[in-house]
């Protein structure tokens, strides 16, 4: 093994220092989402010539003319045959300033689970509206899912402005409707098909003085350091080096340094962090979503699923969890259901005590007294677990506040949960 050179932070050894922005796009079937993505990729030169040739050939077969950029993102055979987007697709592009990961999620009503999937890791939700139709049920659904999943930024694109004669009045009317529903960062008028205001500023819209979409995305500030609840280090894996036990994990909140007083939960034993290490050497004041390992001053029985926090900053240690969940299985969820709950690095059994309400994602109304959740329903449930779980409210920490539910009979992931 080569001797690693110690570094105070991994970033010091990095050659490229632009950060990574994760986007999730949501759109209805015909509002031109794939065209917008294709445009972003094409104009930022992330589409290669052989991909372009493939698209031209495929489109010719389908009897189309020119380039259908949707063919770039719809990669599966069934998608091309049916002309629809089935599943979340991930796309990558980079500019001088930044790298982007884009989760492209289908807009069909029955695919809410894909929207939740895409939004779960996103920094920015890109919501598309067709200027001719304005806010529709899908728009409300997308805005709500983005908000529910705690996506820090929402950018609304009012697309197909060319088809409403670049009308400022139309733009203002739709913008007012959007802002009446929820707070969004920015609303941009654009035409994905023509490329106006996507990468290049549009000369058709003199009344709009904001930057084009790509420039806007380059400038959005993201905070990768959730500090609202303090240090959160879920123990993921134990590395044995002779007698020394290194507790490896990915930092889920706050910062950690050698010498820090900590508590190991759920047992609640106090100890001190002795070292904070990576393959590249020790870290001081480590923060951000880093994968690292620590050693502890005292010989404790620490294992996967435990959580290292600072005294006075402990999360709830409880066998009862109230959460908003998105149900993703065909068979409805009813009280009494037994499932596996995976939370950070810990899996426990859980029983659904009650389904308290269902949320109408088009109106954001809580409908109380619901006894079950059907596929793609979102609602509030109360769960009882076989062992204590260490949870924070989702809106305080997206890692320690989230969980998935797994059906033990099928091994399928059947729900995404956010602790209330």
């Amino acid at each position: 093994m080569s001797a690693p050179t110690p570094a105070s932070t991994p970033a010091t050894s990095g050659t490229q220092t632009h950060a990574l922005l994760r986007l999730a796009t949501c759109g209805s079937v015909d509002d031109g989402k794939s065209t917008l993505l294709g445009r972003l990729l094409f104009d930022s030169k992330a589409i290669h010539e052989d991909q372009l040739e493939g698209m031209l050939a495929a489109n010719e077969l389908l009897g189309g003319e020119g380039i259908d950029l949707a063919l770039l993102t719809d990669g599966l055979r069934a998608e091309r045959e049916q002309g629809i987007t089935i599943d979340v697709a991930y796309r990558y592009f980079a500019t001088e300033k930044r790298s982007f990961i884009l989760a492209d999620t289908p807009g069909h009503v029955q695919y809410t689970r894909n929207m939740v999937t895409g939004a779960s890791t996103a920094h920015v939700a890109l919501v598309l509206i067709d200027a001719r139709h304005g806010v529709v049920e899908q728009t409300r659904r997308h805005l709500f899912v983005a908000k529910l999943l705690g996506v820090p930024h929402t950018v609304v694109c009012i697309n197909k402005m060319d088809l409403v004669a670049w009308s400022q009045e139309t733009f203002d009317r739709i913008s007012a409707e959007v802002r009446a529903l929820t707070a969004v960062d920015t609303i941009i008028p654009l035409s994905a098909l023509r490329g106006d205001n996507v990468v290049e500023r549009s000369d058709q819209i003199p009344w709009y003085d904001g930057p084009p979409l790509l420039e806007l995305l380059e400038g959005i500030e993201v905070d990768d350091e959730p500090d609202a609840v303090g240090l959160r280090l879920p123990v993921q894996y134990v590395i044995r080096d002779g007698d020394v036990r290194h507790y490896a994990g990915r930092l889920a909140g706050g910062s950690v340094s050698a010498g820090d007083e900590v508590v190991v939960l759920p047992v609640g034993r106090r100890t001190t962090i002795e070292t904070v290490d990576t393959f590249d050497g020790p870290l001081t004041d480590a923060h951000g979503p880093l994968s690292l390992r620590v050693t502890l001053a005292d010989h404790l029985d620490v294992s996967r699923g435990d959580l290292i926090v600072r005294p006075g900053e402990e999360p709830a240690v409880s066998r009862e969890v109230t959460a908003t969940i998105c149900w993703m299985a065909d068979a409805p969820l009813r009280p009494g259901a037994r499932l596996v709950l995976k939370h950070t690095t810990n899996s426990v059994r859980a029983i659904v005590d009650s389904v308290d309400d269902r949320i109408d994602v088009a109106t954001l109304q809580h409908i109380p007294g619901s006894a079950e959740l059907a596929l793609n329903d979102i609602g509030t449930v109360r769960l009882r677990t076989s062992a204590p779980v260490l949870v924070d409210p989702y809106l305080s920490n997206r890692t320690t506040g989230s969980f998935i539910l797994i059906d033990e009979a099928t091994n399928d992931t059947v729900a995404a949960g956010m602790v209330v």
Partner: protein, 300 residues
């Protein structure tokens, strides 16, 4: 503290994935081809598990139609690591009558690797296999999960994938099933090269420009090799080339290049307008959905 670079973030995510696999599966394996992506995987495994041992062996599915430089490199790397390497030979599958080899100038053992791979997974009872596949490589891969479930027959069903939410991976399987896990899912080709540069990783010499006897076929340059039959019209000539991907010699093409250093290679790749698989892999050129079709039956 300096903000994390995008390579730092990709690295942290990949290490997290590798540790999840090690923690949740009983018998993982790391598929190692000697190519750049699997070299990066090995470095990430060092980052995830040192100062301990890797909690899995490496496995090379070997067609015997290799670039010598790559096999030499593989053996040196394994030596340095002090980890176990399993070599699963396609030749053994042929000898056992599990597969029948194509003949003629277009014969390739690439397709046959699937059977050898699935047989080895069954023989060693592997329940998780790390691969170096990236979502930017190909459209079907763009829709694949980081934990990609395979049934008893090694098949991938793109329409029945488990949703992957936050970084909570569901690795639960039944006996006989396995999961392919892809820590580099979110990396691009350029990220891999920049990481090789940052980490100062050694890579096989064929990634750099060198003089080689080649012949042209279907717009690609193939290396002269005893097991690669040529059509009468395919004359050999010497050209300065480098490889952009490293796979089975019979289906991996070289690109003309003078780039003899890592910096020069990165500069060429940053400027290229053709994808690596489109430029250098005959196996992906057979149809629009060639990769999806191979993946469905258990390919890498």
């Amino acid at each position: 503290m300096t903000p994390l670079s995008h390579l730092d973030l990709l690295e942290a995510e990949a290490i997290h994935i590798m540790r999840e696999v090690a923690a949740e599966f009983e018998r993982p394996v790391l598929l190692f081809s000697g190519g750049k992506d699997s070299i990066v995987l090995v470095r990430l495994a060092e980052k995830a598990f040192r100062p301990g041992k890797f909690p899995f062996p490496l496995m090379h599915v070997d067609t015997d139609h290799n670039f010598e430089e790559v096999v030499d490199f593989r053996d040196r790397l394994v030596d340095r690591l002090g980890e176990k390497l399993i070599v699963a030979k396609v030749q053994d599958s042929i000898d056992a009558g599990r597969v029948v080899e194509d003949t003629g100038p277009r014969a390739s053992r690439n397709r046959l690797q699937t059977t050898t791979l699935l047989d080895a997974i069954e023989e060693y009872k592997f329940d998780a296999a790390f691969g170096g596949a990236r979502r930017d490589e190909e459209r079907a891969r763009a829709k694949e999960r980081i934990f990609s479930f395979r049934d008893d027959f090694g098949q991938w069903d793109p329409r029945a994938q488990r949703p992957e939410i936050w970084d909570l991976y569901n690795g639960r399987i039944r006996q006989g099933e396995h999961v392919r896990t892809f820590p580099l899912s979110n990396w691009t080709e350029l990220d891999v090269w920049r990481y090789i540069q940052r980490e100062e990783l050694e890579i096989p010499s064929i990634y750099f420009a060198h003089e080689r006897e080649v012949f042209a076929r279907d717009g690609m340059l193939y290396a002269d090799a005893p097991f690669l039959e040529r059509f009468p019209s395919e004359d050999l000539f010497v050209e300065s080339v480098r490889y952009r991907t490293v796979g089975d010699l019979t289906c991996t093409g070289a690109v003309p290049s003078q780039a003899a250093t890592l910096d020069a290679v990165i500069e060429e790749i940053a400027a290229t307008r053709v994808t690596e698989r489109g430029q250098t892999r005959a196996d992906d050129r057979t149809s629009e959905a060639a990769m999806e079709d191979r993946k469905r039956v258990g390919y890498f």
